[in-house]
């Protein structure tokens, strides 16, 4: 209560009312981190919904044996597009670009990020990349059919519009790098007085670790994709076996980026959960430093394990064993986080609000996804299930069940702060029910299918898989109903709902100490930080 800075600000205009330009330009030319965050959020949700629809079409195709709604070639293009949209346009920019942009300066007590104009540039790159990706669908010889991984040598040879799709991914990489660079500099230079690194909320720590991955891994993807372009246009031969190149090296370079990229996707989600749990358990986080350092540890170990994507690509046995062993190491920092969250909940006075419910689903779904990851990381079992639905189920549990659910949790948690209005909680619980049931029906079935030998990326299947495919497809419908209910509820709430108070959830971090929605430059006076981020005064005293 004592360090509240809000009183003096009550009359100040919020950032929606402060405009430097008219109309749509008030958004496209704004360097305000909150506007950029919201632009990212809406762009990403658009692509997310398109990609969900593509997923729906894929499941529909798998409802019956043989051709149901599309042929093999269309199916190839659709799963490629589903992957490209979900990975490059939704989940990689995902939490950092939307919620990170909006919340990071608020959480560390800054007026904006370190380089506001660079931040806007990063959004423009994102938009350019997205437009190129969409152009690749409708121009030239048709959409890419390589899968989102663009594996050589097929990506060098296929007549489809790979070049444009690759350029899109390249530019999106730029966008990602600029975001990471901006956040790291912001955290080094713009923390409020009194806020040491160890007083930052854990979401900031996760963004810090993510920022380093964005900076140190994305360039590798950049050069890999640039080489694919050089191969296609000039024929330099480094990935082309006919010219003495080695296509396995493409896979190495691709996964050197793309495995760490998995942590670009999941780390910020873990950070948000580390903010949500203490808020609704009404007590401080258990093992603050352990969680903070485990983020860095995950980022680091993430560089050591990419080979587990290549166990069946013909890499050496030494390499396979090394990568298999190293992959197991990732489980340690991940488990540290999970146990610390559970310890925080233990003896907390838990308030099961929608953000908490969506957030806590992460622990269950991510644990399933993570543990099946160990099955895939173990050399012997991977040989059996590689390139089957088991893999598909695994990464959907981690990416969708993990990051996706926390993304939804963040929408519920920070949405009222961002948009100034409240949603209907009851409907949120109902939506969660559909989501959770549909999700498990769809993807758990895929584990079983994969284990039985159903290969991924096929538009057809053997008759013995039919009944399980029906279960999965029905699951996808339930899941989509949940998504629709949730978004309609959030949209109506944020548009017409009752006004949200400054701190609807009883959060303790700095973003809850500014008005809702925040004013243009966040803080009238930069606050001075005295407590650790999750300091709940009353509970803390009672406990002693």
């Amino acid at each position: 209560m004592s360090d509240s800075v809000a009183g003096s600000l009550a009359a100040e205009k919020n950032f929606y009312q402060e405009k430097t330009h008219k109309g749509i330009l008030a958004w496209l030319l704004s360097t305000d981190h909150k506007r950029i965050g919201i632009m990212y959020l809406f762009s990403m949700l658009t692509f997310f919904l398109i990609a969900v629809f593509l997923g729906f079409l894929m499941r529909l195709e798998m409802l019956t044996p043989g051709e149901t709604v599309m042929g093999a070639h269309t199916y190839n293009s659709i799963f490629t597009l589903h992957g490209v949209l979900m990975i490059f346009l939704f989940i990689i920019p995902g939490i950092p670009a939307a919620f990170g942009n909006f919340m990071l300066p608020l959480q560390i007590g800054a007026r904006d990020v370190a380089f506001p104009r660079l931040n806007l540039l990063s959004y423009w790159f994102y938009l350019t990349g997205a437009i190129l990706a969409l152009l690749s669908l409708f121009t030239g010889p048709g959409p890419a059919d390589t899968g989102w991984t663009f594996y050589a040598p097929y990506s060098l040879r296929t007549g489809t519009n790979v070049a444009l799709a690759v350029m899109a991914a390249f530019i999106l990489g730029f966008s990602s790098i600029l975001t990471g660079l901006n956040f790291i500099t912001t955290m080094h230079r713009l923390r409020a007085p009194g806020m040491s690194f160890f007083k930052m909320p854990l979401f900031c720590w996760s963004l810090y670790a993510t920022g380093w991955i964005q900076i140190l891994a994305t360039p590798i993807l950049g050069i890999t994709l640039a080489l694919v372009l050089m191969e296609r246009w000039l024929g330099i031969g480094v990935f082309d076996p006919v010219k003495g190149g080695d296509p396995v090296l493409y896979q190495h370079l691709f996964w050197i980026y793309s495995h760490p990229a998995v942590y670009i996707m999941i780390l910020p989600a873990m950070g948000i959960l580390s903010d949500i749990i203490p808020t609704f358990a009404r007590r401080t986080i258990f093992g603050y430093k352990a969680i903070a350092f485990s983020s860095l540890a995950i980022a680091f170990v993430g560089y050591l394990v990419w080979g587990h994507h290549m166990f069946t690509s013909g890499i050496s046995d030494t390499s396979r064993m090394a990568f298999s062993f190293l992959t197991f190491l990732v489980a340690i920092p991940s488990a540290i986080k999970v146990f610390n969250w559970l310890a925080t909940l233990y003896k907390g006075s838990i308030d099961v609000t929608p953000p908490f419910l969506y957030g806590i689903s992460f622990i269950i779904l991510f644990s399933i996804g993570g543990l099946t990851g160990l099955i895939l990381g173990a050399l012997a079992t991977d040989i059996h299930v590689h390139d089957t639905y088991f893999v598909v189920a695994h990464f959907h549990y981690v990416m969708f069940g993990g990051t996706g659910f926390v993304f939804f949790a963040a929408l519920h948690y920070w949405g009222p702060k961002m948009f100034g209005r409240m949603f209907n909680s009851k409907v949120s619980y109902i939506a969660w029910g559909f989501l959770f049931v549909g999700f498990n029906m769809l993807y758990f079935t895929m584990f079983v299918l994969g284990y039985m030998g159903m290969p991924r990326r096929y538009y057809d299947f053997l008759p013995e898989f039919h009944s399980l495919h029906v279960v999965a497809t029905v699951g996808s419908w339930i899941l989509i109903i949940g998504i629709i209910i949730m978004f309609v509820n959030l949209y109506r709430g944020f548009r017409y709902g009752p006004r949200a108070t400054m701190n609807p959830w009883g959060g303790t971090t700095l973003e809850w100490k500014v008005p809702t929605p925040p004013p243009l430059e966040n803080f009238d006076k930069i606050p001075e930080v005295k407590h650790e981020p999750y300091y709940h005064p009353r509970n803390q005293e009672e406990r002693q």
Partner: protein, 260 residues
């Protein structure tokens, strides 16, 4: 516009912050080339003979010349920064132009070097090159990719230098800007310029209702603030140029000196 909105317009310098940002960006450049160095290492390991032979076909003298040119350009670049730190703007411009010239010389050398190879029919996808052993195809593939990408960075660095020259040469400085809503108060009045003793230096025409906005521009001076902002920009461009140099420091032995 409210006060808060104007705050964003205010420039604030955090030279250390901007240098951290620049270094982080350089790391991405370093790793971009890092991927290529990794491929080089792997293929050198796979095709040692072909790489040695390919290397022997490159002109070592031109490579060494280019190394010396880039090293010297790095020196003149850092001297340009040093001169500006000492507020010697003209000297700084001189060194910057010298650096630019060295960059151009590097590219001209490269142009002739590539031109000669292409004349011999040795370039990616050429008829001639497909007759050569696979290792050589890969060697030249990497040679063109790596020196080409490096050359692109040299060009980008030179474009940045042009921008800096513009900042360092642009002398006018906008001292005051009067917007339309404020100008009505000035209707029928004149602007007056006087020195500190109050002596009139210059008087403007009467401001009529047709005037909708006004800028007071000071020409021929170079303000402290302007120097400071150019200094930060020049430092960061210098960092970029040195990175380009460092990459060449590695490219030179890898391509020109593995022949023996």
């Amino acid at each position: 516009m409210s006060q808060a909105a104007e705050l964003t317009m205010e420039k604030h310098y955090d030279p250390i912050g901007s240098r951290i940002g620049m270094w982080l960006f350089l790391f991405t450049e370093f790793l971009l080339f890092g991927g290529l160095f990794l491929l080089y290492a792997i293929y050198l390991n796979k095709y040692p003979e072909e790489f040695h032979y390919g290397s022997s076909q490159l002109d070592q003298f031109v490579g060494a010349m280019n190394t010396i040119i880039l090293l010297t350009s790095s020196l003149t670049m850092v001297l340009a920064v040093g001169a500006l730190q000492r507020d010697r703007r003209k000297l700084s411009i001189f060194f910057l132009v010298t650096t630019f010239t060295f960059g151009a010389a590097f590219l001209i050398n490269k142009y002739f070097e590539w031109g000669h190879k292409i004349e011999l029919g040795i370039y990616p996808g050429s008829q001639e090159l497909t007759q050569h052993p696979q290792g050589e195809i890969v060697f030249y593939g990497l040679y063109y990719a790596m020196t080409g990408l490096h050359g692109l960075h040299v060009i980008i660095g030179m474009v940045i230098m042009l921008f800096l020259l513009y900042f360092l040469l642009k002398k006018s400085h906008r001292a005051l800007s009067i917007k339309s809503n404020q100008i009505q108060n000035l209707n029928g009045k004149r602007l007056l310029l006087s020195d500190e003793t109050g002596k009139k230096l210059w008087k403007s025409q009467e401001i009529t209702s047709e005037v909708t906005g006004m800028d007071v521009v000071v020409k021929g001076v170079f303000t402290e603030e302007q120097l400071k902002s150019s200094e930060v920009k020049l430092e960061n461009s210098g960092l970029y140029w040195h990175l380009v140099d460092i990459i060449w420091i590695f490219l030179f032995p890898l391509f020109y000196l593995v022949s023996m």
